[in-house]
Amino acid sequence: MIPRPDDSRSAPSAAGKPTLEALLRLKRSERPDEAFWNEFDHGLRQKQLAAIVEPRPWWLGLSLLSRRLAPLALPASAAAAALFAVMIARTEAPLGQAARPVAFAPAPAPLASVSAPALAVTQSESLAPAPVEDASAAEAVLVSDASPVSQPAVQAVPEPAPEPAVAPSAFAALESSAPAGSPALSQPATAIVENPAAAPVEAVELASVVAAGSLLDNSSALGAETATAGAENESDSLQMVAFTPRHARVLLAMADNTEAQVTGGIAHLRDRLVHSLDRDDSIYASASRLGVGGDRLSLSF
């Protein structure tokens, strides 16, 4: 029994009490016997074998790997960033080259501006002997419509239906009749407009085509001036000229000419339009399934 301070019987004197350090050293004597250590060695051997057999967790391998690769982290990151930049540059380059023509490709030329050189070619190839009423006006048409898009494409344009020799005259007339400061109708054109009956039929038709093309595209100054001139001269006859299939073919040829000048994007757009037109058949077929009879509405599937 450990003596209590108030237990005078077994309590040692104050001088005989141990110190804390001496008391703590007592714990060094708490030692197990040899049998304990035999059992300890046996358990340790078993745990060692179990540790060898037991697979280590996967994240431990990752942590060890990351610890070993830590010195290489910075150079590897820099190399990866450089590789990424090169890959991005190589990926962007073809796109940029492909996008450049699209980005800088001129918008589809207005119908009127394309039609002039097209017809000018017609003049130079097949209408040479035609009587030119105002050669300078014809040249002005050619020069004024020096669109960088339309010119090279003109050579590739299949010649539409042979136009009469009067066509250049009509263009020259259209330009020369415009007010000062802007390309407009020429005097002979005005004359044709004023008196379509007196003018040759082909010239009237061609002028109407040009005028119609101009009216379709209000962005063309020539077309706008043509429309203005037509209004001023009360040339209802010009605007009232009905579209004939031939005009449609001419417009179509001009449209094809325009499309041939631009890149494949326009051709793709045309294909999409054609496909959409084809879908009209399906729309028509759908509509045909709808029947109305008396007070009934039937839908066949």
Binding site: I2, S10, T19, L24, R25, R28, P32, E39
Partner: protein, 212 residues
């Protein structure tokens, strides 16, 4: 350059005996790293009692201390190739053992019970008991020893884990402040401060059995 000729960066307060011991351990470790794994058993036999003693005083449970000691040796064996001799092997081994024990104690805070080892009645203990009990009464002597052991362990377990670790390593195992600082990953000042505070608490707990 011969690896064995490497000078171990031991603490300045390391005694020559401790330095020679560390160099001998380093040679054994190098042989284990070279593939002689049976040499690790020499290290186990050399340090198992000291490691177990530290962990026993930290846990106050002989079976837990044995398990934790075995785990510490297994971890050391698995990581022996990463030991580069930056410190003494026993310091490295102590660090593994103490950290594992601290984790164990934090997980098992609510299920703590004593499993004490019998104190061997040897020369130093005999002198201490002569101060506490009547030398002529042997039965009183044994009872006094058991009660003292119980009180001492209770007082130790009232300390926090950090303070208990410092007291155990310094007063029971006899390590220096620098070595304890290296093992616990703290500064020497922190070790001194913790030791002083822990002694004050123990003194207050055991004041009836201690001299002023």
């Amino acid at each position: 350059m011969d690896a064995s000729a490497k000078v171990l960066p031991l603490a300045s307060s390391t005694t020559p005996d401790r330095r020679g011991e560390a160099e001998a351990d380093w040679l054994l470790v190098q042989r284990v790293q070279a593939g002689e794994v049976e040499r690790f058993d020499d290290l186990v036999r050399k340090y198992r009692e000291r490691i177990w003693g530290v962990l026993y005083n930290l846990t106050a449970n002989r079976e837990d201390a044995a398990d934790l000691t075995q785990d510490a040796f297994i971890k050391a064996f698995q990581s022996i190739n990463r030991f580069q001799g930056q410190s003494a092997f026993f310091t490295w081994l102590y660090r593994i053992a103490v950290n594992g024990t601290l984790n164990h104690l934090q997980k098992a805070k609510l299920r703590r019970f004593f499993s004490l080892e019998k104190i061997r009645d040897e020369e130093p203990v005999a002198g201490l008991l002569d101060q506490l009990a009547d030398p002529g009464n042997t039965s009183d002597r044994a009872a006094c020893l058991g009660e003292l052991q119980q009180k001492l362990n209770e007082a130790m377990q009232k300390l926090s884990i950090k303070h208990r670790t410092v007291v155990t390593l310094f007063e029971i195992d006899g390590l220096s402040h620098e070595e304890i600082a290296e093992i616990t990953g703290t500064s020497v000042g922190t070790v001194r401060s913790r030791l002083h505070y822990a002694k004050q608490l123990l003194q207050a707990e055991l004041q009836n059995y201690l001299s002023a």
